[in-house]
């Protein structure tokens, strides 16, 4: 199923949570919506599911206008953040729910439903849990049951809201790999919401970075990491050091900064901001440098430095201990900064 979203707007009272979302998801694709809380990613997911409604915009799936379709007629598989398993039903009954509520004419027979549930229990590797109640399951098991319940209706689209949010790290990694396997086996168009970059990049074909109700960038891990499209994405991807610079003729300059390794092709002349990750920021000993090493802490393989300038501004820099620049650095030493890689945005 191809999902086409255009100019979707949504407000809760005075707060605009979606400000013109345009997004196309291809048939069979696995897409992550990545962003901090309040970015609108969950609202977008719920609108696709029919559990929330936009104020304006279009949502077409395979050419059909889904904004004219109630949630129960869209045949989507939705996996909730807290799984929302029916507490009074066994695992089997939970998984079978979507089939048993179909109108009598379309409802599969009892034996057929049982067969389908068996098949899913096997596929999800939870054969032994069929008779248990949700309260008797671990978080990872509940996650599998929730996915099984969503897959039982052979959904047109699979939507997952923070699917691994409530699990511990080891289970997360396991389930992540497993979910990718499930997707590859079923080929269902899948969208999931997460605030975890590693999760988004490891699992998804494409990642949609959102902030404040807008899509900031769409791409794969390398593109988003190396060429962030907006200052927000740069900062979100770890380039948390922002330095004021000046652009002239495509090259970047600032007092106390050696920006020779940074290129800013096509950027208009004038003031700009340079975003750099602390690990890409090298302090170079320089008696005339405007920055002073304020403190150094040793984390074993890394040195974490705090550098201050005359105005009191502080920036962090992470340096491998064996890095040539690390030799001869001690608190009070004067340096200039050399970003190894950075992105520059006009102010």
């Amino acid at each position: 199923m191809t999902i086409q979203i255009s100019q979707l707007h949504k407000s809760f009272g005075q707060t605009e949570v979606l400000r013109g979302i345009d997004l196309t998801v291809a048939d069979g694709e696995l897409v992550a919506l990545l962003g901090p809380s309040g970015s609108g990613k969950t609202t977008l997911l719920k609108i696709i599911a029919g559990l929330d409604w936009p104020d304006a915009g279009r949502l077409d799936v395979d050419g059909q206008d889904w904004l004219r379709l109630a949630a129960q007629d869209r045949r989507i598989g939705f996996v909730f953040q807290n799984y929302a398993l029916f507490p009074h039903m066994t695992v089997r009954d939970n998984i079978a729910f979507g089939l048993t509520v179909r109108p009598r004419a379309e409802r599969p027979g009892r034996a057929q439903i049982a067969r389908k549930v068996d098949e899913l229990l096997g596929f999800l590797q939870i054969e032994a849990l069929g008779g248990r109640y949700p309260a008797q399951l671990s978080g990872g098991q509940r996650q599998r049951v929730a996915l099984g319940r969503a897959l039982a209706i052979e959904p047109t689209v699979l939507l997952l809201d923070e699917p691994f949010g409530a699990l511990d790290a080891a289970v997360r990694r396991d389930l992540r790999r497993w979910l990718r396997g499930v997707h590859d086996a079923t080929g269902t168009t899948t969208i999931f919401v997460t605030h975890d970059q590693e999760e988004a990049f490891e699992l998804a074909d494409r990642v949609v970075v959102m902030d404040h109700g807008r899509i900031q960038q769409i791409g794969d891990a390398a593109t988003i990491h190396d060429a962030p499209a907006t200052p927000f994405v740069a900062d979100f991807m770890g380039a948390t050091v922002a330095l004021p610079v000046t652009v002239r003729g495509g090259s970047v300059a600032a007092p106390g900064v050696d920006a020779s390794r940074v290129v800013a092709p096509g950027l208009p002349d004038g003031p700009a901001r340079l975003f750099v990750r602390p690990e890409d920021l090298v302090p170079v000993p320089d008696p005339a440098g405007p920055w002073t090493v304020a403190s150094i802490s040793n984390t074993g393989s890394q040195l974490r430095l705090v550098l201050a300038d005359a105005s009191g501004a502080e920036v962090p820099a992470d340096l491998r201990r064996r890095h040539p620049a690390a030799q001869g650095l001690s608190p009070g030493a004067r340096v200039h900064l050399r970003p190894e890689a950075a992105s520059v945005f006009p102010v």
Binding site: G50, L51, A84
Partner: protein
């Protein structure tokens, strides 16, 4: 240093005063609740089974019990439906005056039952507001079984509303969203997801409502007319027997009412315990 030479440490309770508060509670509960019930059982046992059966199976007692149980059952069915609806409206919708409506729900609890009985009688008597409308249609409420049912459901409806309300409030909205995303219609979602979740609490409220209706006295005696064999309720009969210094007769009727109420409460708790086992929300 060996363990033996280490000085022993006594664990200290975080909350002080356990003995005092527990002792007081136990004493109070015994004097106020337990001893009267035991006394009633002993009194009943003293009568002897044959005599007990004679009293209970006497036509007037049987009639009073039948009227009481019938009226309480009908009142409870009304409360079960209407109380659930009321709780639903109070929890699910936001409308002006919701807070007021919510507060009104406590009036049957707070109002002296005699006041309730009096005002219901005034409303439904032939020249009252409602009575004047109903009388030409040939419907008489006062001094009939209908009046008893009315008084009983008035005093016991909050039990259902207040039992269901908190559970409905706690119900995860994602459960309904999940049901509808899986293709369930609104009614199916209620029947298969919401109702099973609130059922134990609802049943608890309904049982308490029934138990309370069985014993309702103040509100009923005003509106019932209290004609033996027609509109005389069991607790009034017990009262009359007591007035006649027929302690055995009074105790026997009271015992029947008590056993009925206790059996119901026991059954209701059983259902709730079973439900709690798989983690359904209970009050």
């Amino acid at each position: 240093m060996s363990l033996a030479s280490a000085p022993p440490v006594r664990a200290r309770a975080v909350l002080p005063g356990f003995r005092l508060t527990f002792g007081t509670t136990l004493l109070y509960l015994t004097v106020i609740v337990l001893i009267p019930i035991i006394a009633l059982v002993i009194e009943g046992a003293g009568i002897g089974p044959a005599r007990l059966w004679d009293i209970v199976s006497a036509p007037r007692t049987r009639a009073a019990l039948r009227i009481t149980i019938t009226a309480a059952a009908v009142a409870t069915v009304i409360n079960a439906v209407y109380g659930l609806l009321m709780a639903w409206v109070l929890v699910r919708y936001r409308f002006p005056g919701r807070g007021l409506l919510d507060a009104l729900m406590d009036i049957p609890f707070a109002l002296p039952t005699a006041v309730a009985g009096l005002s219901l009688t005034a409303l439904y008597s032939a020249n009252g507001w409602f009575g004047a409308v109903l009388a030409p249609m040939g419907i008489q409420v006062v001094y009939t079984l209908g009046g008893i049912i009315l008084a009983m459901s008035f005093t016991s409806i909050p039990f259902v509303v207040r039992a269901v309300q908190p559970v409905l409030e706690k119900l995860d909205p994602a459960l309904e969203e999940a049901a509808s995303s899986l293709g369930a219609s609104g009614w199916t979602t209620f029947r298969r997801v919401i109702f099973p979740a609130i059922m134990p609490a609802w049943l608890g409220g309904v049982t308490t409502s029934f138990a309370r209706s069985l014993g309702e006295f103040g509100a009923v005696v005003f509106i019932a007319g209290n004609l033996p064999f027609k509109t005389e309720i069991a607790s009034l009969l017990a009262y009359i027997r007591l007035e006649e210094y027929d302690y055995e007769g009074a105790a026997a009727v009271a015992l029947v009412l008590m056993v009925l109420a206790l059996v119901l409460l026991f059954l209701s708790n059983l259902v709730q315990i079973r439900a709690a086992r798989y983690g359904a929300v209970t009050a």
